[in-house]
């Protein structure tokens, strides 16, 4: 019994998948940075159109990448709705006026302001597109490659190794939790229903959380022993990574230049 659905990687044969993980990580981070630097238009039709075009261009490019990666547009769009809850945080922007602004509409005691609506809309677009970039990145590279890429761009090794261990044992922990939940279901009996059952479940869940915590502690000890047994001395070591090929370097540079142009033009 294993939990597989946590793994967001989608193995396919595609040029996007074959591209070196380091190039993908830097390009994805660069694109998200470029995206966040895009200005919000003021309430002029020409400006809204000009900046809106950039967002549209980016959106269609992402769809294109997704289909080149053989994931398809639907895959990307379906997952991108993960961004929705984050967008809610920006909702109040719509109701904040700029000096001397006339309300667009009145909703009960709240007034909608045009500049606020624009700011909200473009912020929502930004986060929605940024999430798509991230989804494309992790769907086209296995997690170990992502870890290597993080190491290559200079993230502290300790941090990368913490990500690595978390990733490795997340599955194990999830499996353990699943087994505990099954055991809970097996002992629940038929007598309970409604609120009583909910309370009973809640009580047992508390115990489960404690048990998972203690098991994780013990496991951490055993893993540390296993690391020591193979020579771990407090320093995190890894094999050197191969150099990027000239083609990959050129691709990376071109991509980054395009992003700069994208923001400036």
């Amino acid at each position: 019994m294993h939990i597989h659905f946590l793994d967001p990687y989608e193995p396919r044969q595609s040029p996007v998948h074959r591209l070196d993980g380091r190039v993908k990580l830097v390009l994805a981070l660069g694109l998200i940075l470029a995206l966040s630097l895009l200005p919000t238009p003021s309430v002029k039709q020409a400006e809204i159109l000009r900046i809106g075009m950039k967002y549209a261009l980016l959106f269609f490019s992402l769809l294109l990448v997704s289909s080149v990666a053989r994931l398809g547009a639907r895959f990307l769009l379906k997952r991108s709705f993960l961004a929705l809850p984050f967008v809610l945080a920006a909702l109040p922007l719509m109701f904040i006026p700029k000096a001397g602004e006339v309300p667009l509409a009145q909703l009960g005691f709240l007034a909608l302001y045009p500049q606020g609506v624009l700011r909200f809309t473009f912020l929502a677009l930004k986060s929605w597109l940024a999430v798509q970039v991230a989804i494309l990145m992790i769907a086209t590279m296995p997690f170990p490659d992502l870890l290597q890429a993080m190491r290559a761009i200079g993230l502290p090794r300790l941090l990368v190794s913490m990500f690595s261990l978390t990733w490795r044992y997340l599955f194990v922990l999830a499996d353990e939790a699943l087994r505990l939940m099954r055991a809970r279901a097996a002992r629940r009996g038929d007598g309970l229903s409604g609120l009583k059952r909910l309370l009973w479940d809640a009580k047992v869940t508390g115990g489960m959380a404690a048990s998972l915590l203690i098991r994780s502690f013990e496991r951490a000890d055993r893993i540390y022993f296993a690391m020591l047994a193979r020579g771990y001395d407090g320093e995190i070591r890894a094999m050197p990574l191969p150099r990027l090929s000239p083609l990959e370097q050129a691709f990376l540079l071109t991509g980054l230049c395009l992003f700069v142009l994208f923001v400036l033009l």
């Binding site: 294993h2 597989h4 296995p142 997690f143 170990p144 870890l147 690595s164 261990l165 990733w167 490795r168 044992y169 599955f171 194990v172 496991r219 055993r222 893993i223 022993f225 296993a226 690391m227 020591l228 047994a229 193979r230 020579g231 771990y232 001395d233 070591r237 890894a238 094999m239 050197p240």
Partner: protein, 235 residues
């Protein structure tokens, strides 16, 4: 000629006061394959953890002529390959390759040598095609074999395994026994699997309550029914 493992009067109690080892002494000659049997809680795993210095008790331990001291710890760990009971704890890296390469990398070997060691170790356990796989997605039998490869890649002098056949289905068990048969090394294997001990390991140590209560040729030790009965080894 020194012994591969020499333990004399080893005593250990856990921080909570539980006495796990009460004066253990034995020797294992180079090339010997030895079974360590005994009921749960006899102190088998505790003893194995002492043999490469993960736990430190009172008494003398000498590995390949080298006394186990804090200064020698790194060298002793290089000579004693310890395979844990639960492979999940031993396979802590993102991929099979990373795990098998872990030991050699910490031995300070260069990249080509590391790759060669990994290839040989995976070959020895019949897992050559699994290098890029994620450990979590392997079966228990495959995980156990990779865990052995993790230790073989360090080229140890002595191989120590804790319950290698526990939890395996008959075919995986058979594969593992064949694999261990083919490895020409000094071995100490803690196990409840008495048929495996009979088949694979010419000598048997019996442990109970932190002591060694029998030591001799496997056939003799395992046919002494009253003794086995007394130490909870008969069904």
């Amino acid at each position: 000629m020194h012994h591969s493992i020499e333990v004399s009067d080893l005593k250990f109690s856990y921080p909570d006061g539980h006495i796990a080892l009460q004066g253990i002494s034995f020797r294992i000659a180079p090339g010997e394959k030895v079974a360590l049997v005994g009921p749960n809680g006899a102190g088998k795993s505790t003893l194995l953890l002492h043999l490469n210095g993960l736990l430190r008790g009172e008494g003398q331990i000498t590995v390949c002529g080298l006394p186990l001291t804090t200064e020698n710890l790194a060298r002793v760990r290089r000579m004693v390959g310890l395979v844990f009971q639960n492979p999940e704890d031993q396979l802590f890296s993102p991929t099979v390759f990373d795990d098998v390469a872990y030991g050699p990398i910490y031995q300070g070997l260069d990249e080509a040598e590391v790759r060669q060691r990994v290839a040989q170790a995976l070959e020895a356990v019949g897992m050559s095609h699994y290098a890029e796989r994620v450990s979590h997605h392997l079966s228990i039998g495959e995980k156990k074999r990779v865990a052995i490869a993790c230790v073989l890649s360090m080229r140890p002098e002595v191989l120590i395994l804790d319950e290698p056949t526990a939890g395996l289905d008959p075919r995986a068990r058979r594969t593992l026994i064949r694999l261990l048969q083919d490895l020409d090394m000094t071995m100490l294997i803690s196990t409840h699997d008495l048929p495996m001990a009979r088949e694979l390991l010419p000598r048997t140590l019996v442990m109970d309550e932190g002591r060694i209560v029998a030591d001799g040729p496997t056939q003799d030790v395992l046919s002494d029914r009253p003794s086995l009965e007394a130490h909870g080894l008969l069904e």
